[in-house]
């Protein structure tokens, strides 16, 4: 390395190289697939009609690469937890504008290259007439906005979220206006480019302030805190038990994460609900999205909730099983709290014309018992599914192995990519679909055998390592069986048999209710606690 600029670039590359390599590999695979698809699809019946959608589906995972690049050039750290410009760089004999400008330029160029590859080699060959220039400017504006928010030194870190929400909303609205009203490319590009000087000045001022040790401090907030502290009751009353204390610890440390994510996303959904054209059918999609959003988020934040807070917690005289139990209860608290922002938005649906009446009509058509059950499921199921998402993802965080998380993410990304290609193959070849349907019982049977072997291994390990008693293991099997039976009965009652065969549905329920990932959580924690 001959210049400080190269040194900064090397640091960014070194910290994020694996994600960038994987993203680049996917981009290449998507471009090759998109190049081969048109000829391939013309040979299949009605294949060409699917081409534009297929191109869009191929391009969608590139959003992950865009987020990865934005995080890399905002210097957030691999776990996205760090804020502010790297302090180690402040002592280098480099001018602040050099520190600021180069990550902005590199990041914008990198995002621009990604878009060019996506537009020219994925979207356009598949018949999607996407614009070429203004999205690059929009991505650069988005990146530099992230950098400005990340590098701004704030005494109250949470203020960056407060600033981020309206900024992201504003930028998103400009993008929506440009895309919906098909604003001419030069005007759209100029609009986004006009944001860049503003974000540059914000970044420069932020890094300069951080470099001299200044931070924006909201004094009124501090006064409010001091006032609250004066009125605060001292933590005098002891906890009734160690379990209560540990649950309090887990809730204070982790339970807020999912509700916070929801609170940040719900305003966008509220806007979508208000902007959606007023028909009862159109309302059901954002409502379903709203109810199921915590379920989707749970799988993503679950592993972070599994952070065991070691070695502080590891040296407490609590059994590994008790620590895991408090994690599961905390996950339930988190799942319930995640629906508080949802409850604030749900009334919006009822003010939409026709929504209430159409719901009543559907209820009358279904009959009282089914309506009551569906209503109960609509309330309980999302919470339970969110808890399930959190609980079954905990094991990874509980292991405390960063390499495992990376390997899992890599495996998931690979499977996802392969799944898309496999899905395309199945979609365009009806004879493959027929073959797969004929093989479905065997495939499901194989998966059931794998699940059973894994469950036996987990249970025997738990008992062998004395992490749980045999009675507890038996109880776990009993609870799991009960849940499976109840769900099977509900599915048989609610889902018409002509829609899906009963045996496949039952196998799906058995496979869908996790056992090993939840029962194996104490094993994961013990592996971390006693290395």
């Amino acid at each position: 390395m001959t210049t400080p600029v190269q040194a900064v670039f090397w640091q960014i590359w070194h910290g994020w190289r694996w994600g960038l390599v994987i993203g680049g590999a996917y981009l290449l695979a998507a471009a090759v697939t998109a190049h081969l698809l048109p000829d391939f699809l013309r040979r299949t019946p009605q294949g060409e009609a699917f081409l534009p959608n297929t191109g869009t589906e191929l391009a969608l995972p590139c959003i992950c690469l865009v987020i990865h690049l934005a995080a890399a050039f905002s210097l957030t750290g691999a776990d996205l937890k760090e804020r502010g410009y790297w302090k180690t760089m402040f002592v280098l004999p480099v001018r602040t504008r050099t520190l600021v400008a180069w990550p902005m330029i590199w990041g914008s160029l990198a995002l621009g290259c990604v878009w060019l590859v996506v537009a020219l080699f994925v979207m356009r060959p598949t018949g999607n007439a996407v614009p070429l220039v203004w999205p690059i400017a929009a991505l650069a504006a988005g990146l530099t906005l992230c950098q400005a928010l990340s590098w701004m030194p704030l005494a109250q870190h949470w203020l960056s979220i407060v600033f981020a929400i309206p900024s992201a909303l504003l930028l998103g609205m400009i993008v929506a206006v440009v895309a919906v009203f098909e604003v001419p490319e030069p005007i759209a590009t100029a609009t986004f480019l006009a944001i860049l000087p503003l974000t540059y000045v914000a970044c420069l001022r932020g890094v300069a302030a951080a470099r001299r040790g200044d931070a924006f401090d909201w004094r009124q907030w501090n006064r409010l805190l001091a006032w609250a502290a004066a009125w605060r009751k001292a933590a005098e009353h002891p906890f009734h038990s160690a379990g209560r204390a540990q649950l309090w610890f887990e809730c204070r440390a982790f339970a807020w994460l999912l509700p916070l994510c929801m609170a940040m996303l719900v305003p966008f959904i509220a806007i979508a609900v208000l902007l959606e054209p007023g028909s009862d059918l159109a309302s059901s999609r954002p409502l379903a999205m709203l109810l199921l959003l915590p379920v989707g988020l749970a799988a993503m934040v679950g592993y972070q909730l599994g952070n065991a807070s070691f070695p502080f917690v590891a040296t407490r005289p609590v059994s590994t099983a008790a620590l895991v139990r408090s994690k599961f209860v905390m996950a339930l608290v988190s799942a319930l709290a995640a629906y508080i922002p949802v409850l604030l938005v749900v009334p919006l649906f009822f003010v939409r014309p026709g929504f209430f009446d159409s719901t009543l009509q559907a209820a009358r058509a279904a009959g009282m018992p089914k309506t009551a059950l569906v209503l109960l499921l609509a309330v309980v199921l999302p919470v339970l599914l969110t808890w399930k998402g959190l609980a079954e993802s905990l094991w990874m965080g509980l292991t405390g192995r960063a390499w495992l998380e990376k390997a899992f993410a890599f495996g998931f990304a690979t499977l996802f990519g392969c799944g898309i290609l496999f899905g395309l193959w199945v979609t365009f070849y009806p004879q493959v679909q027929a073959l797969l349907w004929s093989l479905a019982p065997w495939l499901l049977g194989l998966l059931l055998v794998v699940k059973m072997i894994l469950a036996i291994w987990v249970l025997s390990s738990l008992v062998r390592w004395r992490l749980v008693r045999i009675t507890t293991a038996g109880l776990a099997i009993g609870v799991w069986s009960l849940v499976v039976v109840v769900l099977c009965l509900i599915c048989v009652w609610l889902i018409p048999p002509q829609l899906i065969s009963t045996s496949i549905m039952l196998a799906g329920v058995v496979l869908g209710i996790p056992f090993s990932r939840i029962a194996g959580a104490p094993l994961a924690l013990a592996w971390n606690r006693h290395r």
Partner: protein
């Protein structure tokens, strides 16, 4: 130093042949150790010698790949609750959660230990000048160490494990920590094991000392015995020598010509005899401080020197 019965009721910690590797690096190599009840035990060694690895074995945070570990007669991996409820621990890193306030930390810790003495805890808090409303992350390094010490002491553990407790701290905090160790010992039957680079502190308060080098135990025993088994000998030879002479037990040499000074381990009589056999006369002999023994042992490139026995 190891008792025949294992685990022995007289020892709070017993290790036999503990080996631990991290990849290709052997962090602990066949380490055996016994810590008697009711003493202050100093664990010394250079950076990377294996002190923290050893302490983490006592807490069950690491599992021995070979050998056995018993703390208070229990296996800390098989019975972490049984061990940890009787052990206090303060780490060098200060791993207290930053978001907790001091009073919340005390309330949280109290729930885990039936022997928690609230009056003693409040007394320590006042003594350490810890603001109960202050968050741990806002505390200075010294205050964090004091907070960690408070919660490690307040339940009066049978065994106190301190991993580099005074590393990087100012003399006032170090005094607090040393005072706590002394107070803990004043409670009958309690034991303190601490690792440290500050050898004057170790020498001042330890009854027993163990020294690790490259994962191997150089020696372990009573401090006085260890000091008595190390000597600085000034030797005068009849002829001028270009390199240090071969002398069994010598750890380091200084000098030139006819006069050489050796730091050696072994019995003084045996060393004198060995010097005479090498054609030298002992002109001066001094006792060594622990610091000098450490420098001679850890600074010597060779494997642990064999003591010269009669």
């Amino acid at each position: 130093m190891l008792a025949n019965s294992f685990p022995s009721p007289d020892h709070v910690i017993e290790l036999r042949g503990v080996t631990r590797r991290f990849g290709a690096k052997r962090a602990l190599d066949n380490v055996s150790l016994a810590v008697p009840r009711g003493i202050v035990f100093g664990l010394v060694g250079a950076n990377g010698a294996g002190k923290t690895t050893l302490i983490r074995h006592f807490l069950g945070l690491l599992k021995a790949q070979a050998g056995t570990v018993r703390v208070l007669g229990l296996d800390p991996v098989q019975d972490p609750v049984g061990v940890l409820s009787r052990v206090g621990y303060l780490s060098e890193e200060g791993d207290l959660p930053g978001w907790m306030r001091v009073d919340e930390l005390m309330r949280y810790m109290r729930a885990f230990y039936p022997t928690w003495d609230e009056a003693y805890a409040q007394d320590l808090r006042r003594q350490f000048a810890l603001d109960p409303a202050a968050k741990v992350k806002t505390l200075s390094k010294g205050q964090k160490a004091r907070a960690g010490l408070l919660v490690a002491l307040a339940y009066r553990p049978e065994l106190l494990l301190l991993d580099e407790p005074s590393s990087g701290l100012d003399p006032i905090v170090r005094r607090d920590i040393l005072g706590a160790i002394v107070r803990t010992i004043a409670d009958e039957g309690r034991t303190v094991l601490f690792s440290s680079h500050l050898l004057d502190e170790v020498e001042r308060i330890s009854d027993h000392v163990a020294m690790l080098k490259g994962g191997r135990m150089l020696f372990a025993g009573e401090l006085d015995e260890i000091k008595q088994s190390h000597h600085r000998l000034t030797l005068r030879f009849e002829n001028e020598l270009r390199q240090p002479p071969a002398l069994g037990g010598a750890l380091s040499w200084e000098g030139r010509g006819r006069e050489w000074t050796a730091v050696a381990s072994g019995r003084l009589e045996a060393l004198t005899l060995a010097a005479s056999a090498a054609g030298a006369e002992v002109v001066e002999q001094n006792a060594l401080s622990l610091d000098e023994i450490f420098l001679a042992q850890v600074g010597s490139p060779s494997a642990p020197a064999e003591e010269v026995l009669p």
